[in-house]
Assembly symmetry: C2
Homo-oligomer: 455 residues x 2
């Protein structure tokens, strides 16, 4: 008996068969007594097909019209899903972003949710019906214009609705089992993370982990919505993202928490060695490291031979900011060989490199630098874990692991719970594997316990 | 300088190329100084594809969800059309039925428009922009639910908007040149009708002419909206549907009326023989007959051997009406051979024949008839013309033409401006040709004048 918001992505509703499969899962959750709100994305490749249609018309479609076009995708998936659920004997109604009360600002293509007024969703739940809501879309308050939320939009719709409705949990269904300690395609021994804090998940997402959108996690943290990332193709537990990785949340029945897992294995009363200790000294349960994220989508720009006088760095980043580019890491090296000159490097999304370099070229005379170097062959590795702030020597261990693997570090940046390094792009996979091993994140069969529960 | 509502059907916007072509036409009309509102249907086969998707999910989709699903089609076409127009340097914005203020009742799948509140369309026109409106859809007043208008929905949206905005003309663009004196596939000599009254057009539409939906013509007549049916593939005049077939309406420049046509042919000042006479005696200009419509979609039910006592016919049609079936023509014959008994025949849509015969079978004991005959091999021919009410001998001429062509008449019904006869279905084409010839409707090259203007 809980209020559950479930979100299904495009790959979970790619065709009539998968829509029926998802409908069955939703109907089961409703029949188990839960109040169920479902947020759904457009079917499979629909969005890409619509973008392609627009490209056939014009290379520069007005963003307002793009939003109207793209929202047709969710309209199709949400009504089909409502039909499929109704066909199973469970009443369901679909709602557009506007009908669901998802109010946004007027920035077409990447609108931000400013309010959620889900009157109609509440009414629908009170009648015992399932409410299906179009993800990725909203409506402007004053002009009643259709907007889309941009990347990660449907995840954000789901968390925002969960917050607005005071839901017990927001389940994000995807095509992987949850959040992993590293990308399993690179590190086959990567383990699914059972629980992770918002802060760690934010660092993971910001560092390139694609399973949850950054803004969705931010929204969840701000409103304290537990987010459960799990597979729509299996019934086992995924990863629970909450404020505290070791507190047992009272969430709905389908959501058993790790501590309770042992109770569910028939014929065993074995309690893990550290169980008692964990109860007394909860910090011990905190994993020091959550995982290793990586990102190949950035480029590095180096401004070579800048006069080493006050205000130059400020001016450089002012110019870059004015061109609408967000930068990530910054490193400044004093060049010993050329007195009075320095090199400033920074990383930024690859797609923004051209805009940033044009902006800097335009002020070359003013800044009096020697040259610009653009390097799009870099990779970034990030080690994330709330535990690292109280454990010294983490960075030494990280750098040691990379040295042992013969991998050169080009840039370093750190936060309270993250260390990121930039390497050559072709060394990135080796780097991820080396670090994953060094911090003993490699799987030890624990995942089998989950698979073995058969849920 | 006029306010023009243009409606483009699915075949006119079937792909990116045709959307660009239509956009060009709209941009030209705007550049000529007109205020332009465009109503658009879904692209080509989109609606059928969406229906097919729903059928893959469930054989009986809830109608509310079907409406949400189907309205995705217009969302796609309207946004693409707005993009295409904008790409030509003319500002355009698209609006859903809800945004355009098309308010309907709550009968999903065949909603009726109850109000049009086009504030946003007016604002858009005042800014000099083209407003694109999704056809076929509206929104319920209180619950804000999406509805569709059913068959002929986009035509009706266009005429309703034209009425709500006080437009000078509503142009219905289609894949034929206008309304013809008969179906050109049956009568190759059929001529395009230049002007026709609402009443005649209503009779034509009700008698099987498919070019304009009945409800759209009804709406046009009620609010006095001139409807111009024309081809989206050519620029020549189509058919103008108005209150009076010989009054010159002050419509926009693109809409020259027949009287003015002669002025436009360079090098000729020839005035047709009856021009002067027509000015003094306008009734002379009224064509006696507008055209010949036909319909193969009906069936005939005969209730054989009904006791010829008062109240029996009333009871029969009461029973049929209760089964939700609309009947068309009724004939009662007194059977001389069997005193006290009579046969009652009526026509109805073929698809309703089963429901009506079941309803009648259920009361066989009460009505004491001998048997039911169902005949779906009938055809209906209708001769329509406002002139016929003042011209005696029209029906005699019609029956004579059919007799000369050796075609048997099974049923007859008449209105002030229409005579309909039922024949064998396989004799229908011959019947249409014979009547078309007898009333001298066959083309005499007049259509060439229009083609020759090259507009």
């Amino acid at each position: 008996m809980a209020l559950v918001v479930q979100k299904y992505g495009g790959s979970s509703v790619a065709n009539a068969e998968s829509i029926k499969r998802v409908a069955k899962r939703i109907a089961e959750s409703r029949r188990a007594g839960n109040d169920v709100v479902v947020v759904v994305s457009a079917m499979g490749d629909t969005t890409d097909e619509l973008i392609d249609l627009a490209q056939q018309i014009t290379p520069l479609p007005p963003q307002r019209e793009m939003d109207i076009l793209l929202t047709a995708g969710e309209r199709i998936s949400m009504s089909l899903l409502a039909m499929a659920i109704t066909n199973l004997g469970v009443k369901a109604k679909s709602f557009t972003g506007q009908q669901a009360g998802v109010i946004t600002d007027a920035v077409h293509g990447k609108a931000r949710i400013v309010d959620v007024v889900p009157h109609r969703i509440r009414e629908t739940l009170e009648k015992g019906q399932v409410a299906i809501v179009a993800g990725f879309q909203g409506v402007t308050k004053n002009t009643n214009d259709v907007t889309t939320l941009g990347r990660g939009g449907s995840d954000t719709t789901a968390v925002a609705l969960a917050a607005g409705l005071g839901a017990d949990v927001c389940e994000i269904y995807t095509d992987v089992d949850g959040v992993f300690t590293a990308d399993p395609r690179i590190v086959p021994a990567a383990r699914k993370i059972d629980r992770i804090t918002y802060e760690e998940m934010l660092e993971m997402a910001a560092s390139g982990a694609k399973v949850l959108a950054l803004r969705c996690v931010e929204y969840g943290r701000r409103y304290g919505v537990p987010i459960h990332v799990r597979s729509s193709f299996a019934s086992r537990e995924g990863t629970l993202v909450t404020a505290n990785s070791h507190v047992t949340h009272t969430v709905h029945d389908d959501l058993h928490v790790p501590v309770a897992v042992w109770d569910r294995i028939p014929g065993t009363l074995t309690v893990p060695d550290n169980h008692e200790a964990a109860t007394e000294e909860t910090a011990m349960e905190d994993p020091i490291i959550s995982g290793v994220a990586h990102d190949r989508s950035e480029a590095k720009i180096t401004v070579v031979g800048v006069p080493d006088v006050p205000g130059v760095a400020a001016r450089i980043f002012e110019v870059v900011a004015t061109s609408g580019v967000n930068i990530d890491m910054i490193v400044q090296n004093v060049s010993a060989a050329r007195t009075g000159l320095t090199d400033i490097s920074f990383t930024l999304p690859e797609g923004d490199a051209k805009a940033a370099s044009s902006a800097l070229s335009a002020v070359k005379d003013e800044l009096r630098y020697d040259s610009l170097q653009i390097d799009d062959q870099i990779g970034k590795l990030s080690l994330v874990g709330a535990g690292m702030k109280s454990h010294p020597g983490i960075s030494a261990k990280l750098f040691g692991a990379l040295r042992d693997a013969d991998i050169n570090i080009e840039m370093i940046s750190t936060s309270e719970i993250r260390i990121s390094v930039v390497t050559r792009e072709d060394a990135l996979d080796d780097a991820v594997r080396a670090v994953h091993s060094a911090f003993e994140l490699d799987g030890d069969g624990e995942a089998v316990v989950y698979a073995g529960t058969g849920r």
